[in-house]
């Protein structure tokens, strides 16, 4: 492992951290500097001027924006996500359990969709321009156009209401047995899988195709190697990085898709929590949840980039 690789990886991580700070500024600015008054939003139009002034003072709204940003950031860095305006509770106490539930749902969707997408992508490459490929790309076209709630309610309508195999509402609580939890998330996880699958598959297909059309694959074929050896020895080491990139980008996509899916299935995760508090205009909660979503998204993107760096022979074996 040469030093250029370590340096690049370190650079990429540093850039990610920098980006995260910039995002925190943007999220803060988005909620504080935009022409909306938080106090007014909370108390409504009928609030008395005294009440407004009191609330502003309590929220520290009279300080300059920069002071408020750094105090917010300082608390964030010590793990203090602040206090919800509506419930007056510690945000982290409510948010963290919900974050785990969201990750539970997203992981199951990922566990199902990643292998499926790679296998289907391989199939599409193997039967390129044939009926299977056309079917798969047609399905991909359709499913990138479908809103999450169409797929979600369709699944509920048939599997929960008509066939009554599965619950329409995904209630999950901590003391629930594992298998019951799984049963509860079958429908939302399926929805998520259907949402990301097509995109992931299309990108996997392109990545594999790109490798399979390179000259060194032809060389391997002209050496009389078996198809298995060509794929394992020659295609896979080169296709690995692009596929990891595809997977990571789609996981990032999945984390966002979770928001709508949680609302559809009334799943007690972070997405639903965030949406509820946007409607209630509970800014500290929205900021905290927004930042966590952004952090996960940025983190997955960093992993994708690092995978690409690590698998590049030019960087691993410098001149």
């Amino acid at each position: 492992m040469g030093s250029p690789v370590l340096r690049l990886v370190a650079q990429r991580i540093a850039l990610g951290i920098l980006l995260l700070f910039a995002v925190s500024v943007l999220i803060f600015a988005g909620t504080q500097i935009l022409p909306g008054d938080v106090a007014q939003s909370i108390l409504g139009q009928s609030a008395t001027p005294e009440a407004l002034a009191n609330l502003r003072k309590e929220l520290g709204l009279n300080d300059p924006a920069i002071v408020r940003y750094f105090s917010w950031l300082g608390h964030l860095l010590t793990g203090d996500l602040g206090t919800a305006l509506t419930t007056r509770q510690e945000i982290s106490a409510t948010l963290l359990p919900r974050l785990w539930k969201t990750l539970f749902l997203a992981s199951w969707a990922a566990i199902v969709s990643i292998p499926l997408a790679i296998v289907l992508g391989l199939l599409a490459v193997r039967h390129r321009n044939g009926p299977i490929d056309k079917m798969i790309s047609g399905f991909a076209l359709a499913s990138t156009s479908l809103p999450e709630f169409f797929i979600g309610y369709l699944l509920i309508y048939f599997f929960a209401v008509k066939l009554q195999w599965l619950p329409a509402i995904s209630t999950v609580y901590d003391s629930m047995p594992f298998l019951d939890k799984l049963k509860a998330i079958v429908l939302p996880a399926t929805t998520l899988v259907l949402v990301v699958l097509a995109h992931m598959m299309r990108m996997t297909r392109a990545a594999i195709l790109n490798v399979m059309q390179s000259a060194y694959i032809e060389t391997a074929e002209l050496k009389g190697l078996s198809a298995f050896r060509i794929i394992c020895k020659h295609a896979f080491p080169n296709a690995f990085a692009p596929i990891v990139v595809v997977v990571m980008l789609n996981l990032a996509f999945l984390v966002v898709g979770v928001v709508v899916v949680e609302v559809i299935f009334v799943y007690p995760g972070m997405g639903q929590y965030m949406v509820d508090h946007v409607a209630k205009r509970d800014v500290p909660v929205v900021q905290a949840a927004g930042l966590i979503f952004a952090a996960v998204y940025i983190g997955l993107n960093i992993v994708a980039d690092i995978a690409a760096i690590l698998s590049n022979p030019r960087l691993r074996h410098p001149k």
């Binding site: 000259a215 060194y216 074929e221 050496k223 009389g224 020659h234 080169n238 022979p313 074996h317």
Partner: protein, 596 residues
Amino acid sequence: MAMAQAKPQRESDILLDIRDLEIKAAIYSPDEKPRDVTIVDGVSVQTKPRGESDILLDIRDLEIKATIYSPDEKPRDVTIVDGVSLTLKRGKVLGLIGESGAGKSTIGLSAMGYGRGGVRITGGEVFLNGRDILKAGVQGLRRLRGREVCYVAQSAAAAFNPAHPLMDQIVEAALMHGVASRAEAEKRAVALFKKLGLPDPDNIGKRYTHQVSGGQLQRVMTAMALCSEPDLIVFDEPTTALDVTTQIDVLAAIKDAIRDTGVAALYITHDLAVVAQVSDEIMVLRHGKMVEYGETRQIIEAPRMDYTKALVSVRSVEHEEKKPTDKPVLSVRNVTAAYPGGQIKVLQDVSVEVHPGQTLAIVGESGSGKSTLARVITGLLPPTFGSITFAGRTLPPKLADRGRNDLRELQMIYQMADVAMNPRQTVGTIIGRPLEFYFGMRGRERDARIAELLDEIEMGKGFIDRYPAELSGGQKQRVCIARALAAKPKLILCDEVTSALDPLVADGILKLLLRLQKIEDVAYLFITHDIATVRAIADSIAVMYRGEVVRYGSKTQVLTPPFDAYTDLLLSSVPEMELGWLEHAIKGRRMASAGH
């Protein structure tokens, strides 16, 4: 006590197979005790059967088709190779030659039962070692490829897997086919590296593709092909992508390796002079059909078909050298240039002159700075030092500061005519715009002038509404010439304008440029890597090497000995259409390959 086996390993492949033979004789002498003397110690001999299997490869009436997919139309089949037959004896080399689209690579790959992309072998028979490989099936082909027949690609840089060290890939075929053990194969590979003149033969196999230069990779790939000791190697333009001084080394290495190992080869190239050096027989192909097929000497010295004659006499464009005038149209004085941010000087103290109505050829290999010189003259890259005088005025170094007349009188033609024309504009707009822009011509006057220019480039006004995509390569370059002429320039910079074209088409362009020079009295600054082109068109020559002009003068001066070391290397590296040139050239060299 002899132990010999005569059991064929594979049917009809090996007639006699003697392994590790040891023969001893007992000597009885009167003074001593009888003792054993070893007469033969550990000798192995294999012979292949004679007679009919003297013929290694026998292709009969080959037909190859490809399916073309276009978005608006139904897929349709085109015939790429039509009724080609050939035979190749063991240990012989057959050259396949033709322009792009002649089907030569396709035929070469058919000897491995392989079709690239949507290409299918639709008819005929391909016998290798007496078996029709088209009937061998997937498994049969797999056993044959990399064992009996190997492949050397045009771009070894792309053909090696970037993820593995070279050695793993070189011995792979030998290991997979059970030809040798890993240790044996690696030993053999190192011996081949030595034979092919690769530096550091013991360690080069540990490197990765990106750590080895192009010319070396081409030799490494040849070693890979030879490693499993095949009967046949298909060389697919193995030296085309290399610089001319590197090409000669690789060519010589390949030729030696072929001779010493006794392998047979199909050598594919578009350069008749190259193929004449390595092959015993030559087949000339055009549009997928055979034109002529014969002994190398006969093809080079007494071609029968017109097309072959044209190929042999290509680059025979002749041109009378003109005397320099007292007033050059362009003089470049002491120009030094570097790319922004770069510390390396791409040009160092370059001074050259172009005289009115004459041609200065700038010759050099990749990295010599010859194209950079053109960018400096046009003002795209302002020099860090030096000046450029054009038509009596000193040009501002930056393009933005130059007057319209300066721009008009200095035109440029590019190597890739495809990208030098806006694909969304018609030929009429492309040629007409300079007329509008510089002379304010409109309507009928403009159209008449466009028609005139189209006549001058031998195309006619029927092309006025065509788009670039509807033109052939040669026609595109002609339109670019017309666009430059439309500005009525005093000087045209020609940057490798014939390099991307097939030899006959390139000849046509050169003849056209010479004719136009007479009519329009325009000067050319002609940038090229090809000495034959220089001979054809230049009045004076500047040889460039690593950013400097190493030799400069009239054509006769520059091309007459004594030479400096680089010019000698460059001139002696250009393949000539002459048998035995390669050996002669290698022997007479004073400087090792310039590139690496």
